[in-house]
């Protein structure tokens, strides 16, 4: 087994690991109780699965064709840059549009702050 073959295997294993991560987040998507917690699972899928898979692909191409897949790297960067923003924005939208946290949650300081702000505004407009 030469070095390239080894790298190929490593690449493949990275991909499988990515797949496993993905499935884990899928399970999270099913099991977790509310949109907020599920978004955690989704973010993971975006990050680890993609990181591992693209890295695997990168290695594989390098090993087989000596090809440096810059687009793959760029893809990783891009996903790392955008995935958290997407998660942030969607979860924010959920909260702003009034989606409640699940019953098992411990507290919601944001909702409290919003409520406070609203009351202040009301009292200001009354006065």
């Amino acid at each position: 087994m030469n070095a390239d073959t080894a790298v190929e295997y490593v690449a493949a294993i990275l991909m499988v690991t990515g797949g496993v991560m993905s499935v884990v987040s899928a399970i999270g998507l099913i099991r977790l109780p509310d949109v907020y917690t599920r978004s955690h699972a989704a973010t993971k899928s975006s990050t680890l699965a993609v990181l591992l898979t693209l890295l695997g692909a990168f290695l594989y191409f390098w090993a087989v064709e000596r090809f440096i897949g810059v687009r793959l790297l760029l893809g990783i960067v891009f996903v790392f840059l955008t995935a958290p923003v997407a998660g942030h924005v969607i979860i924010r939208a959920a909260h702003r549009s009034g989606v409640k946290l699940s019953g098992i949650s411990k507290g919601d300081e944001l909702a409290e702050a919003r409520e406070k702000f609203r009351q202040e505004k009301e009292s200001r407009s009354e006065g």
């Binding site: 760029l74 955008t82 923003v85 924005v89």
Partner: protein, 140 residues
């Protein structure tokens, strides 16, 4: 409660440049790789769409003060006229030519009239997509 879009906006500023560069690259590399005028134009316009979604029309307009309807028309005309050029030269309408030229900076480069054609395509795509989005958004 006052809101703050700092994360989204900061990232968007960066991401838009990546998209734009990628779009131009797609446009130019279509001759030999996947890409071309359509996809290039589409990607470029999707960058603009992102800007419009994240910021707002007026802000983006300050940054990109173009009349996209005219860009679209101009692009389409470029495509049409690039075909006409061949006809004027006595070749069948829409004949494309290509050749290899030794340019000062770029070295031996393949230049093809199809690039002009595709540029027209790309401009039309950008102009049209943005026109559609803006028209609807301004209707609120």
């Amino acid at each position: 409660m006052k809101e703050n879009d700092v994360i989204l906006r900061t990232v968007t500023r960066v991401v838009v440049f990546i998209i734009l560069t990628f779009g131009v690259e797609l446009f130019l590399s279509g001759h030999h790789n996947p890409g071309g005028g359509f996809v290039g134009g589409l990607v470029l316009s999707s960058a603009l769409v992102l800007l419009y979604v994240v910021f707002d029309i007026e802000t983006v307009h300050q940054g990109v003060p173009f009349d996209f309807r005219k860009i679209a028309a101009f692009g389409a005309m470029v495509s049409l006229l690039s075909g006409t050029a061949a006809a004027v030269l006595g070749k069948p309408f829409l004949s494309q030519g290509f050749g290899y030229f030794d340019l000062p900076i770029f070295g031996l480069t393949e230049l093809a009239t199809v690039t002009i054609f595709e540029a027209g395509v790309a401009l039309t795509v950008i102009g049209t997509v943005v026109t559609i989005i803006l028209s609807i958004s301004k209707d609120v």
